[in-house]
């Protein structure tokens, strides 16, 4: 209530300025800024409360518990198993990203070319996983992947040798890719639906066979969507907990499981915090490396 009281006078002050946003110089822009600022304020408050504060507290704990110093980081980098798990976390996330790109690309493309009815069906198929609890979905993967599960029964039925999927990295990648697929499909779709398919026809008329027209025209134009989806999926995959915990075995543990063990089982908040900070820094470094790649693509597609 008090929030809306505070914003009302500010908004009515700004109204005369907003009447002539083009003619107004700094005054109009300042009013616009004030309003825009008010609009993002609630989100900003929530973000500070649920993100910035816990994050800062974790960072502080990592250098203050059980005593001040860098001993938690020394422990992390001095313990080989931690480094193995860190590396594995990145490897699994990379595989998940690759699987998602390969599955999502044709799916998103088909979404752009089908009729409106079929498109709604395809979008629903993408969204359904969002409406089912992650635990339930992962448990259904357990049923499918386990040694006596549906996949191995089918293989046996066809006279093929069974494959070991549950408690392997492959199983983890399959389960995570399925959960994360929507985050890949939706950004890809939004970019692809803006690509003019007549450009491909133009390439054909200039002498490009279909595969060449795809690789030289369609693929480059769709890459911004691929990058956007890949970054979202990769970063979400780095922090995955439930799926690797349920589908994985000891040889497919990811960093989040180690954090959980340190914090909840051993009550080592400092060590858990250090792991979190390492993962965060590694992610930021990776983003920084990927950023110029994306910026260049945007310039080239002429989104200006």
């Amino acid at each position: 209530m008090s929030g809306s009281d505070a914003s009302t006078p500010a908004r009515s002050d700004a109204n005369p300025d907003r009447g002539s946003p083009r003619s107004g110089g700094s005054a109009g822009r300042a009013a616009l800024f004030r309003e825009g600022w008010l609009l993002v304020l609630p989100a900003l408050v929530v973000l500070c409360a649920v993100m910035a504060y816990p994050l800062a507290s974790i960072a502080v704990r990592s250098i203050s518990q059980p005593e001040w110093g860098l001993q938690n980081y020394a422990w992390f980098f001095g313990t080989p198993v931690n480094l193995t798990v860190l590396q594995r976390t990145f490897t699994i996330s990379a595989w998940v990203t690759v699987v998602c790109v390969l599955c999502a690309y044709p799916y998103a493309y088909v979404m752009t070319v089908v009729g409106p009815t079929l498109r709604v069906v395809l979008i629903l198929c993408v969204m359904v996983p969002f409406w089912v609890s992650g635990v339930v979905r992962t448990l259904s993967w357990v049923l499918l992947l386990q040694d006596s599960g549906a996949i191995n029964s089918a293989l046996r039925g066809l006279g093929l040798p069974p494959v070991r999927l549950i408690r392997t990295q492959t199983g983890v990648v399959i389960g995570m890719a399925q959960v994360l697929l929507p985050f890949m499909i939706l950004p890809m779709y939004s970019v692809m639906k803006g690509i003019d398919l007549r450009l491909v026809q133009a390439a054909r008329s200039l002498g490009a066979r279909p595969s060449r027209a795809f690789f030289s025209v369609y693929l480059p134009l769709s890459l911004p969507g691929v990058y956007a989806g890949a970054i979202i999926v990769f970063i979400l995959a780095l922090g995955f907990y439930i799926t690797p915990a349920l589908l994985g075995g000891p040889r497919s543990t990811m960093l989040s499981t180690l954090v959980q063990t340190q914090v909840l089982s051993l009550l080592q908040w400092g060590r858990g915090g250090a792991m979190g900070v390492v993962l965060l820094v590694a992610t930021l470094v990776l983003l920084a490396l990927a950023a110029p790649l994306m910026r260049q693509r945007h310039k080239k597609t002429g989104a200006r």
Binding site: R198, A202, S205, L206, G302, R304
Partner: protein, 374 residues
């Protein structure tokens, strides 16, 4: 410009014989036949949905014909995919690749053909020179205006020296001034290249400016093929007569005998020396410059001329003369063009409309394509 004419006289002939195209039960083209000479500038003219773009797409190879024969350069191209036809295509929507520079766009067909780098640079430069876009080679398409983009698209379509260039309403998205200037540019490029050009438009003025010959499409058929002058002076069908240029159509009770045909319109009778050979209800079509206006009170000067009473309903000043719309007694409208210096009239003036029996075309009042004149 001696260096810029490497392909002079290298245009391909196109033979279209009894070609049809069906989409499900819908016939987009039925039994179209036409021949295009090497190096000719042929325009497909017609309203939207008349089949002109469909025909262009069949030649380009974007869709397959449902029946008939289609030859380019003397060889059948039925079943040949678009990328193997070696035909340049310019689209209304430019279709430049947004992720490539102007130079990259123009070089694209050359790199597909594995043209060595040095020669590629030279040919890109030459093509850009031809469309006067040399200074823009390093820009991206999004940094160009519509007219500039279309010139780049034209350079890209001619850089690989195709014997045939197809243009699908290339100037449709541009404003009038720019369109008129680019029409002349396209004409110049056609002259310099000697390539066969096939141009699709719904704008009859554009067709008249550009073309050696025009094929008028209507309802998936070709109504008439001829030079602009032939189509204007001797339209084969009422559709062609009305589509090309302004015209006045007179309808009335018709009576034919050995000497000609008479139409009675709201009590007044006009005659022509022509008779309709085929079936159908005869109507008269008269071009605006063949009609003369005279004040109602005036007498004489009408000997041997047809005379219809009317009233001026619109006056349009054209600079070089005036265009009048005249409402006739039966409610129809006649269009009259009178040169500068003729007596001028105001809206509401009662007038007589005069025309020679020889200047009236007699056409069948339906859309059948096989009506001919005697």
């Amino acid at each position: 410009m001696a260096t810029a004419v490497p392909t002079l006289g290298r245009g391909a002939a196109i033979g279209i014989r009894s070609v049809s195209k069906h989409y499900g039960g819908f016939a987009a083209l039925s039994d179209v036949s036409l021949h295009i000479e090497p190096g000719e500038f042929m325009t497909f003219l017609g309203p939207s949905g008349s089949g002109k773009t469909t025909t262009l797409n069949l030649i380009a190879g974007f869709t397959d014909i449902s029946g008939g024969h289609l030859d380019v350069g003397g060889k059948s191209v039925v079943g040949v995919p678009a990328h193997k036809r070696n035909i340049g295509v310019v689209f209304q929507h430019y279709a430049l690749f947004p992720h490539m520079t102007v130079g990259g766009n123009v070089a694209y067909p050359l790199s597909l053909r594995r043209v060595p780098a040095a020669e590629r640079t030279e040919r890109v430069k030459r093509a850009l020179e031809m469309v006067k876009m040399t200074d823009f080679a390093h820009r991206y398409p999004s940094e160009l205006s519509g007219g500039q983009q279309q010139r780049v698209a034209l350079a890209r379509a001619i850089v690989f020296d195709p014997p045939l260039l197809l243009m699908d309403e290339p100037l449709g998205a541009l404003d009038k001034k720019l369109r008129e200037w680019l029409q002349l540019e396209i004409k110049r490029i056609h002259r310099e290249l000697g390539t066969t050009f096939v141009y699709v438009t719904h704008d009859q003025e554009e067709a008249l400016v550009l073309s050696d010959r025009i094929a008028v499409f209507n309802g998936g058929r070709v109504e008439q093929i001829g030079t602009g002058r032939q189509l204007y002076d001797e339209p084969a069908t009422l559709f062609v007569g009305r589509f090309i240029g302004d015209s006045t159509v007179l309808r009335g009770a018709a009576r034919s005998d050995g000497t000609g045909t008479a139409l009675t319109i709201a009590g007044e009778t006009v005659v022509t020396d022509k008779r309709l050979s085929g079936g159908g209800v005869p109507v008269m079509l008269i071009r605006p410059e063949k009609l003369r206006l005279q004040r109602r009170s005036a007498t004489g000067a009408g000997d041997g001329l047809n005379r219809l009473a009317g009233r001026i309903s619109e006056v349009i000043y054209l600079g070089s003369g005036s265009k009048y719309e005249v409402e006739l007694a039966d409610g129809s409208t006649a269009i009259v063009r009178s040169p500068l210096g003729d007596e001028s009239f105001a809206i509401g003036d009662p007038v007589d409309l005069l025309f020679s029996p020889a200047d009236a075309k007699l056409l069948a009042d339906d859309r059948s394509a096989d009506t001919t004149l005697t």
